[in-house]
Symmetry: C3
Subunit: 280 residues, 3 copies
């Protein structure tokens, strides 16, 4: 098994949301202030396997940034890494807040400021060139914009599908959700029968053209990109290319242990597998 | 051309449904009993090319299991193979009927029992580890749950997209629907002008990240996962990752010969191509 | 930078539609006559990189053929290439107008005639065997059928995602939209704040299983295959396999420079990247 520390990171990515420091603007709008620090630091991506990652706030994925549609976001980015980086957010914002041209040199800072829109499940990642390098190294995370009228309250989990090229040959050796191979196979996620669950699923896997999520013994409502409150489909398998994301909702009818994993056998066997443990 | 036997297998997979042995339960519900036998047997996957497959009931894909939503299914699985296997069904069922933890050793049996739900197009496959091996060897099939109020009556065809690694190097040499390369190119599927057709399309292709179905000279209504009676889209090409499936409906306006094939040229050229022969 | 000629080709593919020679049939329907010439000719696919392409009307992609649902189309195809070719159209048409069996030898001609249906975004490509060769060499283009009640008037752009194997090893070295790597990075596409834009996006990329389009700083309405006037989803990233296509609609709220590119980092870095330059 991986160190408690590594598991704690994956678990924290699963259930922790960074709502920022909240205050009110003179016009009544909500201001949310976040701080993001890029660093070069080693992380454990599989039991005993350490990877020289580049991270936001110490982990890959970085924190899940969360806000409500219409909020003003102010994200202070400090580059504590030895490489130039940015934060590029998906979603609507002005071109000069896009993190694609304003490269932040080591030791420098940049503050991104924009209104959160539209509601949905988005993501952020570094956009320095070469893109491939800056993404594979671990600079990404989920970005949730809640609708003003919130979604139905339920248990919420964030799963960022990523992978690591630990021998530096341009192919992945480990596939994970939230940065640690088999994190939730070794530590099953507890659920109750009938408990409603919402998964915010993001794919940032580099090198492989797609990744996917398959749920055992159940079906989920699928909301592509999370930008509609009406689901598109009821299925048990969703495929996403890098940068795509979906919201999934389901509940279990029967107790038991249920796997979830990529339906690419190779990815599943190399660490992208987990368990729900459902009790009465 | 392949042996009559091999073609007959592919043709049988196209048009045969296993509804099980039907009886009534005391509470009025329908009970359906199926028997599935895992075996190690050689199959012809392209003219003159034999592959040492692992099969359910002798063929890859195995039988198309079919039931109506709400029926009680009892599937007796006998493992007559030299390897440990299971049957994992997609869809809703209790964890202990999921075929992921209860590995069935050679010579042993297991009976899966669960209620068929939800209506839609599902699939089954072995879930023994390593997953990759147990899927590529041929242990899979389509699983149709009809809505209580049946879909409109029309000609129905099952197409399971699979592939075979006949030189055991971890890449596929042959791509097929229903287990035989070019089966329906050498033996076109007859249709009538205006005849309505429904295809139950399942992708179980191992190694390659996606597969697809393209229809010539026509468009189809696309019902992803078959879980809705309203179509999502009108298109002529659908891409599926392993484990995904879709229901397609169409009819031809004009007589003639029309290809269908993967829109990945390589897969099409290596056997994933067929023909509809449409007459007045 | 590439030669002005090469850029002009990409730019022309972006904004030019071939409506054919228009006349009225006795029954009042519109007849549209097009001429298509297959040729073997060298094209510049990246600055200073020349590729021995096979083209329709001199470019890869070929012209965007455009008509209205219900029009009669007459497409005269002359094969001026040293290889046998066809034109295979996606959409509804008789089998003998499908361009899959009637191979047109060098120096020969064939006239395709069929009614344009259904409305949507389609494509055409050569269907001579081997398919892989005849597609990768450049024989493809977009095919738009407008609904009788036209879509809302807005700025329209055509983007055909393709790629080139310039060292002939069965893998792509350059990824482009409209045939020239980084064409619209070197020559940003001008837009106005609030200006509505519609992109007709087609994927014909050979060798790679998927390609995608990601838009920076914005979201778009996604109409898969363009066959519905209601959008499926609001997103910023769409993945397509070869032969798939989508209509995208959006407008920018803020001025600035905004990238669009494949969200496969490799494809983006090898030429599939462009810019919108949005001004007040
Ligand atoms: Cu970076
Ligand atoms: Cu499953
Ligand atoms: Cu098995
Ligand atoms: Cu076609
Ligand atoms: Cu050709
Ligand atoms: Cu972006
Ligand atoms: Na490796
Ligand atoms: Na799906
Ligand atoms: Na091989
Ligand atoms: Na499609
Ligand atoms: Na190469
Ligand atoms: Na998408
Ligand atoms: Zn590696
Ligand atoms: Zn991105
Ligand atoms: Zn599984
Ligand atoms: Zn092989
Ligand atoms: Zn499965
Ligand atoms: Zn074809
Ligand atoms: Zn090459
Ligand atoms: Zn095609
Ligand atoms: Zn980007």
């Amino acid at each position: 098994k991986a160190s408690p520390n590594a598991y704690q990171s994956a678990q924290q990515a699963l259930t922790t949301f960074d709502y920022g420091k909240v205050s009110k603007l003179p016009d009544g709008r909500t201001l949310r202030e976040y701080t993001m620090l890029a660093q070069d630091n080693e992380i454990e991506v599989a039991p005993g396997v350490f990877y020289p990652a580049w991270t936001y706030n110490g982990t890959a994925p970085g924190p899940t940034i969360r806000a409500t549609e219409g909020d003003l976001l102010r994200i202070k980015f400090d580059n504590g890494s030895a490489h130039p980086h940015t934060i590029h957010f998906h979603g609507i914002h002005p071109g000069n807040m896009d993190g694609s041209f304003e490269i932040v040199q080591p030791g420098k800072s940049f503050t991104y400021e924009f209104t959160a829109e539209p509601f949905g499940l988005h993501l952020y990642h570094c956009h320095s060139m070469p893109l491939k390098k800056h993404i594979e190294k671990g600079l990404y995370g989920a970005f949730i914009i809640d609708p003003k009228e919130p979604r139905k309250k339920m248990k919420e989990l964030v799963m960022v599908m990523n992978a690591f090229d630990t021998d530096f040959d341009g192919e992945n050796e480990f596939y994970t959700v939230n940065g640690l191979a088999n994190a939730f196979l070794d530590h099953p996620i507890p659920l109750k029968v009938g408990e409603e669950v919402r998964i915010y699923l993001v794919n940032v896997t580099e090198f492989d053209l797609i990744n996917s999520f398959h749920l055992h013994g159940n079906m989920f409502k699928l909301y592509r990109t999370g930008t509609s409150l009406t689901h598109y489909e009821i299925t048990d398998t969703v495929m996403l290319c890098q940068g795509e994301r979906s919201v999934l909702e389901f509940s279990y009818k029967f107790p038991g242990k249920y796997m979830f994993h990529a339906h690419q056998s190779e990815f599943a066997e190399l660490g992208w597998m987990g368990l729900f443990e459902v009790t009465e």
